[in-house]
Symmetry: C2
Subunit: 398 residues, 2 copies
DNA sequence: ACACGGATGGAAAGCGCTTTCTATCGGGCA
DNA sequence: TGCCCGATAGAAAGCGCTTTCCATCCGTGT
């Protein structure tokens, strides 16, 4: 029922081997023959069987991107950027172009007859392009898929196994991870076997794995966000404004991101000799920020500033404050983290710490492709930048 | 180098066939034998070769979710919900639980010795569960991957082809589509072949495909948002408040969502005998809303209300208005669409049209799994609900 | 006590593609 | 003119797993 390589071979009156070679373009095939094969592919509307190729070639062109929460733009932006770098044929940033290019792209190949042939042609084109003896390592066009772990360690492992099963070309893990030693070890082990099997591993916005066993090569290329310094700068900013009673709405416990940001915050306080204010842990969503703020104010009614786990949480913090009749930043200053697109639209606009999510994601994509050389020592630290806006100001009477 | 089924068989002193049967649990295997095999699997840390199984079984457990923009929560929420319904082992909504459950889940299997064994165990557990003669159609645990098309029709087709190659179990297309007839035909053709090959096709938040050829079964189960009615209600609300000069910041041209919302808007105006105000098309992002508003005010300085393509755009509209010194809703009312989580945090909170993204996504996931029966006639229309908040009010002097 | 059938396990034939290893065909060169 | 080589194409051996027959084995019914 489905068209196979053999069918194409028969129609083109060549051997299956030749068809394979034409399609993969890594072996000289006479122009005439190639032409004949392509015609047959077109006419039969042949689509290669992925599993079969992957099995025979022992590789696939899948790249997995793991995210903690796909509904959170923090991950969406990184994933989109990575995906753009991986799948857009080098165009780099298809995501950004997307809106504008929304129309038109479909007509680029007017030669096609039946609509579906356009697809086949596209495939051919790709092969053509790569057929000019592209080295194996160069990493041609790959297909990125994003896997939503929902923050569940079990699911993270499941996806990693799936990707391992699929013999993925690369895996990108984004965002902070759970700090449970058992889980960490399990992930490290899994990544080690993936790397061993030839899958490129990239960590984006996540701290590096432990050191590799001995003099062995690093398992993963790592792009780590400098959450600690970012958080520290943010708290220093608040301290400079005169705040001394600062509440902290932290992210979920046992997460690296949560810990690092908290550490930066505490470091700033310690350096200034200011006592730490109340801290409440919660989720990375707005209602968590709301609830935490209520709790915080209960514990310490005269707070003059609240630092949030991230921008989304900050929105909840603002809402809670407003509902209590407190003005921002008049009565209480609020700070976010990440500088997601909506941060500037909050009223007042959020003071926050910008993380170059887009750049980091794109770079992760290139690392996954092998287009970009891994950083020295395998780990690059990505700086976080303080962005001061209207939501922070001097405390009353300062 | 890698462990294969045969290795496991050898170690367990059974035939490969038996190992396969234990792993897939669709054939009676004596408890003792099974036990032996499982031990071997554990000890060797065996991970099945996905491509090989897919090839032999002619199916895979991949479910593809196509989204237009992964950085947009509109898609993220649907994708997350779908993914939760598909991959969470029936738990239904892993995404929501995620934050809370962030810790702990890793310890659930204290029997494991080496860290990596935990994974193997998890796999076994799954097999166990399904080994009790689960019918083929029931659709066990599948793996959802989301594919970001970035709104590019070419990429949409590419991903569909990829999924076809992988012999995906199901495909979910989310969000509106381009209205280009050629592209539409290409997609329809592709989906038809997918369906024909046994892949379940679900459209979520996208209008139905054209009618299937003759008396043939519908290719796709469709969950269509009633954007038209939603938009109509929204404009009616504005009209009821007394607005007569309403600007419209529309989404990209040639998109179904854009057209439907615009049609609803116009229908309301027509029904009320009110002349249509200026309309500007743009992207689905905040800066587009900002720019469009500047343009709108240039054309028609005395607008009293602006309707936006969606909430994100509305944020940009608000920013532009604020920058011009116009108050919301005092001088100009603003309305969004979708009711994304941040809509309530805008100041003033956005009046918008709520789309049950989460429910729709989850339902799409169940349809993809075959857990839920497709709607009558193949198409279910999902109602959109007007949500009135502070960003809309009576125009000055009304 | 003997034949029969249910319960298990093995053998082996692929699934569709990739990739050596060969075979063939012309030319260029000595 | 004859030989060796580069350029092409084909043959065939898998890749690792599923699954359709079959072959056993043992408990039962009569």
């Amino acid at each position: 029922m489905t068209v196979t390589l053999a069918d194409v071979a028969a129609r083109a009156r060549v051997s299956p081997a030749t068809v394979s070679r034409v399609l993969n373009g890594n072996y000289p095939v006479a122009a005439a023959t190639r032409e004949r094969v392509m015609r047959a592919v077109d006419e039969l509307d042949y689509v290669p069987n992925g599993p079969a190729s992957s099995l025979a070639a022992a590789t696939s062109d899948l790249v997995g991107i793991l995210v903690n929460d796909i509904a959170d733009p923090f991950f969406g932006i990184m994933a989109g950027a990575a995906q753009g770098a991986i799948g857009a044929g080098g165009a780099g940033d298809a995501l950004t172009e997307a809106g504008r290019a929304a129309a038109g792209t479909a007509h680029e190949r007017p030669t096609g007859t039946s609509t579906d042939k356009a697809t086949a042609k596209a495939t051919d084109k790709t092969s053509d392009k790569t057929s000019e003896k592209v080295s194996e390592k160069a990493g041609g066009e790959k297909l990125a898929v994003v896997c939503n772990t929902g923050g569940s360690p079990a699911r993270e492992l499941t996806y990693l196994t799936l990707l391992q099963r699929q013999r993925a070309a690369a895996v990108i893990l984004t965002g902070g991870s759970l700090e449970d030693p058992e889980h960490l070890a399990a992930v490290a082990a899994k990544l080690a076997r993936l790397a061993e099997a030839g899958t490129r591993v990239v960590l984006c916005g996540r701290p590096p794995l432990g050191e590799p066993p001995a003099g062995e090569p690093a398992v993963a290329a790592t792009l780590a966000f400098d959450n600690r310094t970012g958080a520290r700068r943010l708290t220093e900013h608040l301290l400079a404004l005169g705040h001394r009673r600062i509440g902290y709405v932290a992210g979920p416990e046992n997460r690296t991101t949560t810990r690092h940001r908290l550490e930066g915050h505490r470091a700033a306080l310690a350096a200034a000799g200011v006592a730490e204010g109340p801290t409440v842990h919660g989720r990375y969503d707005r209602s968590s920020g709301y609830e935490a703020t209520v709790e915080l104010l209960g514990r310490e009614p005269d707070l003059t500033a609240v630092v949030s786990a991230n921008d989304t949480v900050a929105l909840g913090v603002c809402a809670a404050l407003r509902d209590r009749g407190l003005s921002i930043p008049g009565d209480v200053s609020v700070a976010g983290f990440d500088d997601l697109p909506f941060a500037v639209d909050a009223v007042p606009a959020l003071t926050t710490v910008r993380l170059p999510l887009h750049d980091a994601g794109a770079r992760a994509g290139r690392l996954a492709l092998g287009t970009e050389a891994p950083p020295q020592g395998g780990v690059a630290t990505i700086a976080a930048e303080l962005v001061v806006r209207g939501s922070t100001g001097a405390p009353r009477g300062a």
